[in-house]
Amino acid sequence: MIGLVVAAVKRAIFAISLLAVFVLFVGPVAILVVTSIRPASGVYYIWRGTNFTFSNFIDVVHQSQVMQAMWNSFVLSTLATIFSLGITVGSGYMLSRFGGWIQRSWFATIYIFRTVPYISWVLPLYLVNTRLGIYDTMLGLLLPHIAVHVCFFSWLMKGFFDGINPSMEYAALIDGCTRWGAFRRVALPAALPGIAALSILCWLATWNEFLFALILSGQRTPLITSTMAQFVTETGTEWNLMSATAVLAMLPALLVTIFGQKHVIRGLRM
């Protein structure tokens, strides 16, 4: 009898937790999507009324600033992924396979940068960027992103290479490869699932990044995350337009996640 009660309580707790998680994660997205298809007058009462419209999306798509920001974010994310991964793969491999003072110093460097709070970088970076004349340029946005990704993803990349038995590379060395050849032809292909996973995570991280976008970009290189915030004006917040932009901004990330999920899971299980 007591056993039955305990089982019922356990089931109830499980169901409530599940519901809580569902509400926490799905709730905001649902509200966002509903808001995006409501007229401006209906955004504060999204559960009432039956006025639905796609005019928000049409409106937003016709704002050149938003479309420009989408394109900029896409280009920035792609470039940041390519360059950071290029460096991260080498860096992770070095951390995993080699000893010595260069490796230790590099490890210490990225470790220190990992421990510095992200937000404390942003203001100095703003000053550096204006001084170098790269404020509000693609380069000025790209470099900080690469720096952050290299520090963060080198650790994960090291983990991937640690999981690959080095004797495969030794076999390649004996089979006629140079050290570089063993890396390129044996270690790198073996790490591909991991690299694919990191590419997706890296792309999403740049696409969703807000702080750099806010401080380091301006009129010339608007990014989608900071552009979204500009619907907050002196006369009020255009929630409907902001939501429509947010839903549009979610789409590429959603596509990348849906199609890349398999690789991410396989990579992270390495």
């Binding site: 038995n165 004797s167 076999a171 390649a172 004996i174 089979d175 490869c177 140079t178 073996a190």
Partner: protein
């Protein structure tokens, strides 16, 4: 094929030496086995021959050519690893062909060489599979194939059978032996398994703590161990060691411990007298100890309480509490009726005694 010569080879990690002045001559076509417990330096020695570890001092030559500074790819060697080290993203065929492609061998020749190896190892049905689709035994066969196709002058094996289960290991051991006949190439084989060392090696090198303890044919190592370590390491069940005091009695040398007294054969007695020490360690293999009383002139008896019995089906192993230790006797008829804790008598063959110095553990002979 080629001979391999190691001269005063030393390996240190920082200031810690892991291999001490190894001198070794491996003849052309010889199958040399390096055996020893973990951390004895056998794998490091092999990796230095392969060029995967640098040499701190000394020289290594393969085929009369000093290879100290030569990268692995230019040493004309092939190596089998404990975990097979197959290229996971390539098919079996590509794994086999990888080394030849690196050497720009024409495609037709690659196909012929791969076909030769696959025929030898029965890999034909597996050529288009990836390594993760193969069993452990199949993977190790592919690793062997990868060596064969290259026709190198030296094969290196780094504990190739350690990851296989006992049954498969025994089977692969036989296959390796058969393969040796068909592809006679100088080989260095590292293992911690004494059975592999004894069955595969033309000669065996026993190592401990970075030092070579003994080099010899399997029978030499077994019958005339140079140190107490070698004597204890090779052979199962392990050799019995008893600390004895030597005493001359009416012209005959006797080795004595508590409740234990055995006569030493005249020739061996001379060596022991020459050596001079009174307290030595006596070693005797379990198969040289028998149940019952000693026949005249063949050995000496002792008695004690039965402490352990191990029924193996083909033989019975009995441990007797005597001379302040447990003395193991093997090859006793399995049907023998022996009760635990009961008193029993055994005898030791006089001709089968080994004696070791207690300080430096070297054999006295």
């Amino acid at each position: 094929m080629a001979e391999v010569v190691l001269r005063d080879v030393v390996k240190k990690y920082g200031t810690v030496p892991v291999v001490h002045e190894v001198n070794l001559d491996i003849a052309d076509g010889e199958f040399m086995v390096l055996v020893g417990p973990s951390g004895c330096g056998k794998s490091t020695t092999l990796r230095m021959i392969a060029g995967l570890e640098t040499i701190t001092s000394g020289t290594i030559s393969i085929g009369e050519k000093v290879v100290n500074e030569l990268p692995p790819k230019d040493r004309d060697i092939a190596m089998v690893f404990q975990n097979y080290a197959l290229y996971q993203h390539m098919t079996v065929f590509d794994n086999l062909a990888f080394g030849l492609r690196n050497r720009k061998v024409p495609d037709a020749e690659i196909k012929a060489e791969v076909a030769r190896a696959t025929r030898m190892l029965g890999l034909d049905p597996l050529l288009s599979r990836k390594p993760f689709q193969l069993s452990g035994g199949q993977q190790q066969r592919v690793a062997l194939g990868r060596c064969i196709v290259r026709r190198p002058q030296l094969f290196l094996f780094d504990e190739p059978l350690s990851n296989l289960d006992a049954k498969l290991r025994a089977q692969m051991r036989i296959e390796l032996k058969a393969l040796r006949e068909r592809v006679p190439t100088t080989s260095v084989y590292v293992t911690h398994d004494q059975v592999e060392a004894m069955t595969l090696g033309d000669r065996v090198v026993v190592m401990k703590d970075g030092w070579i303890q003994q080099v010899g044919t399997p029978l030499e190592i077994y019958n005339r161990p140079a140190t107490r370590f070698v004597a204890g390491f090779i052979g199962a069940p392990a050799m019995n060691f008893i600390d004895v005091e030597l005493a001359d009695e009416q012209g005959q040398l006797r080795a004595r411990a508590k409740d234990f007294d055995i006569g030493v054969a005249p020739q061996q007695a001379d060596c022991l007298r020459k050596h001079g020490a009174k307290g030595v360690t006596m070693g005797v293999r379990p198969e040289h100890i028998h149940l019952g009383a000693a026949p005249d002139g063949k050995g000496s008896s002792f008695s004690g309480q039965v402490k352990v019995t191990e029924q193996l089906g083909s033989e019975l192993v009995v441990g007797l509490d005597a001379a302040e230790s447990t003395i193991m006797a093997s090859r006793i008829a399995p049907e023998t009726d022996i009760a635990l804790h009961a008193p029993a008598e055994m005898w030791i063959e006089q001709r089968a005694l080994h004696f070791f110095d207690r300080k430096n553990e070297a054999a006295i002979r």
